[in-house]
Amino acid sequence: MENLKKTCLHEKHIQLGAKMEEFAGFNMPILYQNIKTEHLAVRNNVGMFDVSHMGEVIVKGKDALKFVEYIFTNTVETLNDGQVMYGMLLYDNGTVVDDLLVYRLNSEYFLLVVNASNVAKDYNWIVEQSANFDVLIQNVSDDYQEIAVQGPEAENTIKMVLDIDLSALEFFYFANYEYNHHHLLISRTGYTGEDGFEIYASEEAISEIWDLLYNNDVVPCGLGARDTLRFEAALPFYGHEISDKISPLEAGLKYFVKLDSDIDFIGKQALKEQEENLARRVVGIELTEKSIPREGYLVYKDNQEIGYITTGYLSISLDKPIAMAMINRPYTKKNTEIMVKVRNKMVPGLTRDKKFLDKKYAK
């Protein structure tokens, strides 16, 4: 544990008695009190997460727009300055390098927010692709600390505690704000399926804001609740629903891929070919008997293996055993009767959509 990196809030997590574990090379809080309380705080009120481990990469220069279009699955050309877009970086074969948020400051300046576990890989890969572009690429992960404030009360709480009015900030937009002489970049984004914000700032500012929010009853939430929340919102998690062995089409993320545009991007050709004959896809599963479908459990149809669970829980908000699973076609069709092997038992269930939860974004 000694070689693990620490975020600037590490001491505070220890003082709060958090259960700490290694994640992406960082010593991170998994839970403070319990996952259920933290999860429900975000669904019903407001919670906060230390996500300072996330990676930040800047792409700037004359060709920045052209270059981001070339490496990113989603369209940035039509974005407004100050807008955020979700998408992926792909290998030539169409599998996923990483998923990320792209913040457009202007056409010559983009901020890419990537998974902590992939920062070094992403940075090196992005630099390798940039040879023929007039761009400067910087890994600024150590300079950006981040707190996610999530839940229906997030906007009111930030107004009350930090006196920052975010009511005009639209969903998937960001802007610069000032708090106590600190510069903050705040976006209306998140990874929970709720309305909420992500605040990027210096160590000093983030520490100060964390304390203020904590003293105003914002519930600190660990990576445990972060996973149960994003799962219910059917948001993919790198290494689970997407990976360097899985394409966006297989993950059911076609919506975030500009496959029908004229813009060429890395991996496009492979996806075009795969689209003709997709062999498998991530779908929802709901068990019809009480049990818990967990990641890695195998899925069967008529005693034949047809896939595996990518993420599954006894959903906290819905109190139902649900999962996302990578399933071979044609069994991806809704309401297909399947079996999930839970330890030594075959437990019956049905395939379903991934709309486990009504998302309450402020759109």
């Binding site: 998994i30 319990n34 996952i35 259920k36 445990g224 149960t228 009480k290 049990s291 818990i292 967990r294």
Partner: protein, 126 residues
């Protein structure tokens, strides 16, 4: 500090065995086990009439995050299953020694001597 109870037999996989009479025992999980696991949200137990075998998995206790196998500390036939835990799995967090999992008729009472006593188990979890 984990709570321990005198007069129970303990396994290295953190189950306890409480002898009743006529070679009938109760089986449960220890306080150490429930605290390591965190909030229990589901208990997966076998059925009355099934048999359990020493050192073989017979079910699981599950928290939000993970499933933890239950390993039988002894062999025998299941006489009763604590159905209360199906509706209220959190009872295992509240009192893991009162809320037993199975009542079992021992097949081989000598197996009890293979288990740890309170001092040995206390040293084991230190």
């Amino acid at each position: 500090m984990s709570k321990l109870v005198e007069g129970l037999y303990y396994s290295k996989s953190h189950e306890w065995v409480k002898p009743l009479e006529d070679d009938v025992v109760l089986v449960g999980i220890t306080d150490f086990a429930q605290s390591e696991l965190g909030d229990v949200v589901f208990v997966d137990l076998p059925e009355v009439g099934d048999t359990v075998s020493a050192e073989v998995e017979f079910g699981a206790v599950e928290s939000v995050k993970a499933a933890s196998d239950l390993i039988a500390p002894i062999s025998g036939e299941i006489l009763e299953v604590n159905d209360e835990l199906v509706g209220e799995p959190e009872l295992l967090n509240k009192d893991p020694y009162k809320n037993w999992l199975l009542k079992v008729k021992l097949e081989n009472p000598d197996e009890l001597s293979e288990l740890l006593n309170i001092e040995e188990y206390e040293a084991f979890i230190k």
